[in-house]
């Protein structure tokens, strides 16, 4: 039975999540040099368009089509064949609305990776990689964790809104990608953010959109929806404050970039846990995501020397892993129906751990293979001249800013 209130909320939530991808473009765009901002915005907008098409053609059915052996969805829903308005079993919203809501998640996940290869990627290589990655990494992963019959779902893995499926897969893929494509030229000397206000605006609207992302993942209007809403806000706040304090103590000054990075780390960390934990736990989860993100961004990255341009791994990967494990610690039966370690159910932590390991291995190996294939066919990196002049002019023949009219 379709419920009108549930349907209205899910329409709004879907639109909120849609907005997150262009918003992410501005978050990332503000952090790159001014000769590359259009390339980043362009990549996000194109992902929104291309993955939307991929999803209705084949993506949805691979992820949520009738289960085949726990591994992949069958092709029954290819081209949205037979996908109408009647709700799926156990749902109260039109089937097509579920398609739309999940579509926005499929869109934003590859867009997260944009931050790893920013400022040096060839547009054609990027496009091919994105299509293959969505189809061969994201769709199966979404099936395993979210679709009834998926093998991790059957194990009892908890991933409320995509901590594992979205943030760990994107974060790990970003790390592998940034190592394979190599460092930016002149990295570390002249890659300071060119427009932090854009990045702040981006973070603000990501926070806003994340209400749709997390509270929408309850797939209707119920207690869990409100829990997720409150937890999302609380975790983001806890993480922002944590990063600010760390910046203040360690680097001697609180920074705007620090606070917005903390916000994103907190939002990522609470994503898998949003509908399963108490508000007090969400402060801890947000703060933990921020602390671990801070360590990776400030120290580990420098030490290991990979050039993950905008810290997709340090923020999404690490906070995502922490959030998935923290769900196994803090989950409470009263909120979401399952207990974690702190409520006397250590098994849940084990299940979360297995899920995290699977996501890491699958996305790392998958990204490695896809990168090599795309690199062979089209090439992934622009040449030195193009990189120096900037991707806006060389890949798109446009420039974001003019010096004279």
């Amino acid at each position: 039975m379709i419920n009108a209130a549930d349907t209205v909320w899910m329409l709004i939530a879907t639109a909120l999540v849609m907005m997150m991808t262009p918003t992410l473009g501005f978050f990332y765009g503000g952090l790159v040099r001014k000769k590359n901002i259009l390339s980043v915005l362009m990549q996000c907008m194109v992902i929104l368009a291309v993955v939307s098409i991929q999803w209705v053609l084949i993506g949805y059915t691979l992820a949520f089509g009738p289960d085949k052996g726990g591994i992949i969805g069958g092709l029954e829903f290819a081209f949205l064949n037979g996908v109408g308005l009647a709700p799926l079993e156990g749902q109260t919203i039109p089937h097509q609305l579920f398609v739309c809501f999940q579509m926005m998640f499929a869109v934003i996940t590859p867009a997260l990776i944009v931050g790893a290869f920013a400022e040096r990627i060839k547009f054609s290589g990027f496009l091919l990689f994105t299509i293959l990655w969505s189809t061969l990494i994201y769709d199966p992963m979404a099936h395993w964790v979210w679709a009834s019959g998926g093998w991790l779902f059957s194990m009892g893995a908890l991933d409320f809104a995509g901590g594992t499926v979205i943030h760990i897969t994107a974060g790990i893929s970003a790390l592998v990608f940034s190592i394979l494509i190599g460092k930016r030229r002149g990295n570390g000397t002249s890659s300071s953010p060119h427009n932090l206000p854009f990045a702040v605006l981006g973070a603000a609207f990501l926070w806003f959109g994340w209400f749709g992302f997390n509270a929408g993942s309850a797939l209707g209007v119920k207690g869990q929806t409100v829990s997720a809403f409150l937890n999302t806000n609380t975790a983001a706040a806890g993480a922002a404050v944590t990063w600010m304090i760390l910046d203040w103590f360690v680097h001697k000054t609180p920074t705007a970039l620090g606070v917005i990075t903390g916000i994103v780390a907190g939002l990522v960390a609470i994503t898998p846990a949003a509908g399963f934990v108490t508000p007090m736990a969400s402060i801890a989860i947000g703060a933990g995501g921020s602390l671990l993100g801070f360590i990776f961004v400030s120290y580990v990255k420098k030490k290991l020397g990979y050039d993950d341009s905008l810290d997709v791994f340090g923020v999404h990967g690490i906070a995502g892993i922490w959030g998935a494990l923290a769900t196994g610690l803090f989950a409470s039966k009263e909120i979401g129906g399952t207990d974690g370690l702190f409520y006397g159910n250590p098994h849940q932590l084990w299940v979360q751990f297995v899920t995290v390991v699977v996501a890491i291995v699958f996305s790392a190996v998958g990204t490695y293979i896809l990168y090599k294939i795309c690199d062979l066919i089209l090439g992934m990196r622009v040449d030195a001249r193009d990189e120096n002049i900037g991707l806006d002019l060389t890949q798109h023949h446009e420039s974001a800013y003019t010096l004279v009219d």
Binding site: T189, S190, V404
Partner: protein, 113 residues
């Protein structure tokens, strides 16, 4: 006293600055500029309309030095700025009539350093 104007590639600015600092030249003014020389510009296309723009982004450094620092400054720029292709830029050197530090009113060699 000499006044140096150097037009260089934007991404070479950090290297040039570092090299100048190594040679104890710490004072400079930096401006974003567009320029055209023998290097061809990059074509821009907006909604299908092509604009061949031969103005390219460069960075202009302006440095005032005492005579004994002139050669060091030029050597530093010549070391850090080139890539070996057309478009590396140019250095212009002028005699400077006077230099005054506004805060103290000091003039000439004293005011530069």
């Amino acid at each position: 006293m000499k006044y140096i104007i150097a037009v260089i590639r934007p991404h070479k600015l950090e290297e040039v600055k570092r090299e100048l600092e190594k040679n104890e030249i710490h004072l400079m003014t930096v401006v974003d500029v567009l320029g055209c020389g023998r290097q061809k510009g990059v074509t821009e296309v907006y909604r299908g309309v092509t604009e061949v723009d031969n103005l390219l982004r460069k960075v202009k450094l302006e440095i005032a030095v005492n005579d004994e620092y002139l050669d060091k400054a030029i050597a530093a720029i010549m070391k850090a700025a080139p890539e070996g292709d057309i478009g590396d830029g140019k250095i212009f050197i002028f005699d400077m009539a006077e230099c005054i530090r506004i805060r103290t009113g000091e003039k000439g060699n004293l005011a530069i350093g």
